[in-house]
Symmetry: C2
Subunit: 153 residues, 2 copies
Amino acid sequence: MNHKKDKNTADDFGAKIQCFVDLCRDRGLRVTPQRLAIYKALVNSDEHPSAEMVYEKVRGSLPTISLDTVNRTLLTFSEIGAAFVVEGSGGARRFDAGLDNHQHFKCVKCNRIIDFHHEPFDDIELPASIDGRFTVSRKTVYVEGLCELCQSH
Amino acid sequence: MNHKKDKNTADDFGAKIQCFVDLCRDRGLRVTPQRLAIYKALVNSDEHPSAEMVYEKVRGSLPTISLDTVNRTLLTFSEIGAAFVVEGSGGARRFDAGLDNHQHFKCVKCNRIIDFHHEPFDDIELPASIDGRFTVSRKTVYVEGLCELCQSH
DNA sequence: TGATAAATAGGAGTAGCTACTATATAGGTG
DNA sequence: CACCTATATAGTAGCTACTCCTATTTATCA
């Protein structure tokens, strides 16, 4: 279930890297030592790191790498599908008066957050592994994509 | 369905404000003109504003208010339950290699993001109002609360 | 109405990007 | 297999979104 709990076997790991290299070539991206190191650091992390966290890891093998390269590279990865940005993270904190039950759709282009309401989502049943282990204060369905204004470009 | 589509009637609005005033008093918080103005701006907004956006609105009636006050006040509101922070917003961008289907639990105290996997969540059915209107690139169940380490304090 | 604990304004400091430019290099080509 | 060139990188500067601090103001209660 937890795909990162134990160290990946050498074969697993090699396969993932090969996959990644193929993906880069496929998209016409060069396979640089920086990109490889950043990808490895990301795959070997189980904390959903920020750019800063990846930067600290990668500096072990590439001491002169810059934080900007790490950030840019991680964004590039999310464009080619080698990684993704954890939902809602990044950018300014947003507030909601929370007057009614609703869920959020976020446009990844213009950053608008649009409410919608689908009753079945109002009371999601969490598995016991979560409910028992953590104190849950909020659970919701979260949707991302392009809003109607931004898709017409 | 969309609770903010039309202007609230004067009565609705008055009731909300009264509710808010009662809540403040209940929690021993003073009802200041700043707090009222900020709350009104939030309730009348349908964009899930950032502190900056609320700041711009409130400056109309309180030209000398500071951004820090707006930020601090909005956070106070979320502590007393008069508002809440939109899931995942705020803080640094976080990355995920996305090798398996999984959902995220975020600890609001230590900011760790912990994977969990519950198969029924892998393919959530969105209502037609969303699927038809937007280009959806990502949909997930998102859970927030206190992790096992942080609840023991 | 006066006292006081709480709240605010303003400014300084910090984190996390983001844009820019000169240098370096991956990978195709002859 | 050395060269060429478009792509990528390092380093720096600038910007946004907070966050912390302190002096001043003010909502509330006696």
